[in-house]
């Protein structure tokens, strides 16, 4: 149990997706202008990652891993090279399904962050979650915890950045630094903060 808690904290803070691994930066920067939008994105990310990482773990384990087809008399079959396409398919299908369910049963939630859902299909952090899961050989439970943790870490980071950028509306910045430039520097400062989590983990 404590292992899983450690995995959750590690995934959300120590190897934070946008700030230490540079994953999902495009949406991280583009959608953090307002805190509300950032919160919607964060919630959607946590949900989608919590579902797709364990789902892809099952797909990989049952269909793609070397020797997965041994029961069918094909012990040498190694479909590892297909994992990229399979993962993308699972992610696209999950996002689509989530959108349908939300639209049907929770229209208010859907209206709140419906715009971000289709974007998540091409979110590199989500695909990276599944790829890391293969690289680190997580089990089904571990990958669920890892997915939720990574999504949560992303949500925390993007909401914080959204809040800071909202305050910056009052700041009088040099013309060239406005918008994108200052956002990178802010993200760099936040990244310095998150780097201290890595030191804490090392001790």
């Amino acid at each position: 149990m404590s292992n899983l808690a450690a995995l959750f904290l590690e995934a959300s803070f120590v190897s934070n997706m946008p700030l230490t691994l540079f994953l999902g930066l495009c949406t991280f920067i583009a959608l953090s202008r307002r805190p509300e939008a950032a919160l919607g994105l964060g919630v959607a990310m946590t949900g989608v990652m919590g579902v797709t990482v364990p789902l892809n773990q099952a797909v990989y384990d049952l269909l793609l891993a070397p020797g997965a087809w041994a029961w069918a008399g094909l012990p040498d079959l190694d479909l590892y090279y297909l994992s990229l396409i399979a993962f993308i398919g699972v992610i696209a299908a999950t996002v689509q399904l989530l959108e349908l369910v939300l639209e049907r049963y929770f229209p208010a939630t859907h209206a709140a962050f419906g715009v971000f859902l289709p974007l998540l299909t091409v979110q590199c952090a989500i695909l990276a979650g599944s790829l890391f899961m293969v690289e680190r050989r997580y089990t089904l439970v571990e990958s669920a915890v890892f997915g939720l943790g990574s999504g949560f870490g992303f949500a925390v980071a993007v909401v914080m950045l959204g809040a800071i950028r909202a305050r910056l509306a009052y700041a009088d910045l040099p013309a060239g630094l406005r918008g994108l430039g200052i956002t990178f520097i802010l993200a760099g400062l936040m990244s310095l903060g998150f780097a201290s989590f890595a030191l804490m983990a090392a001790q």
């Binding site: 994953l23 999902g24 990229l84 396409i85 696209a92 091409v122 979110q123 790829l131 918008g179 520097i185």
Partner: protein, 221 residues
């Protein structure tokens, strides 16, 4: 696009004037993650340029046969197939660099730069301009990667492409490597500084001041 713009201008526009990374906010993830050394930055640039050019060409050729409703899936499958080929080639011939790049090669699939170009340009243009545009954007991306990669390797390790340039202090020289350059924050700082530099020269790219927190602004895409 009105009329038929000159091929050369399609090729050169994305280099600085409409750079995909610093102006369009596309393809950021890999731009920062793989730039701790010049060699990985160059490999990544080459891989991405090849993928985006070929993907634009293929999608442009079959652009009249893709149904509108499923075009995203079709585009992603084409891009993913190309990325698998590149990934296998790197693993076969450049194993060390392929290990260093880790999952980031596979992540070219979801690099918004590739999908952004196929979606906004290749889908509605003939193959030759589409591939030129993709090549230009790939080169614009490479330019940023190479600059950041060179700065981070030079000041982080005192080397360029693994060859010593600045004499290190522990070997009798005067240069003490800046460890921070190899850590994630410096990637953000350098890119922020680069954006600032480009926009100071080309002031038309600077964003308008947004005074007042309540004013709803368009997302930067």
């Amino acid at each position: 696009m009105a009329g038929r713009p000159h091929l050369l201008s399609i090729l050169t526009a994305p280099l600085l004037r409409e750079n995909p990374v610093t102006l369009q906010i596309l393809g950021l993830c890999s731009a920062l993650a793989v730039t701790t050394s010049l060699a990985t930055a160059l490999t990544m640039s080459a891989a991405l340029t090849v993928v985006v050019t070929l993907a634009a060409g293929i999608i442009s050729v079959i652009r009249r046969h893709i149904p509108d409703a499923i075009r995203l899936i079709v585009q992603i499958v084409i891009i993913a197939s190309l990325v698998i080929v590149i990934d296998q080639v790197l693993q076969a011939f450049f194993y060390e660099i392929s290990r260093a790049l880790s999952v980031y090669v596979a992540l070219i699939t979801t690099n918004c730069l590739v999908l952004g170009r196929t979606e906004s340009f290749a889908r509605s243009n003939p193959p030759i301009p589409a591939m030129t545009d993709a090549l230009g954007n790939g080169l614009g991306y490479s330019l940023i990667l190479v600059v950041i990669g060179a700065v981070r390797e030079l000041f982080g390790q005192g080397t360029l492409l693994g060859v010593g340039v600045l004499p290190l202090a522990e070997e009798g020289g005067w240069f003490t490597p800046l460890g921070l350059m190899l850590l994630p924050p410096s990637g953000f700082f350098l890119l922020g500084g680069l954006v600032w530099a480009i926009r100071s020269v080309r002031t038309e790219q600077a964003e308008a001041a947004e005074f007042g927190p309540a004013a709803p602004t368009e997302a930067a895409e």
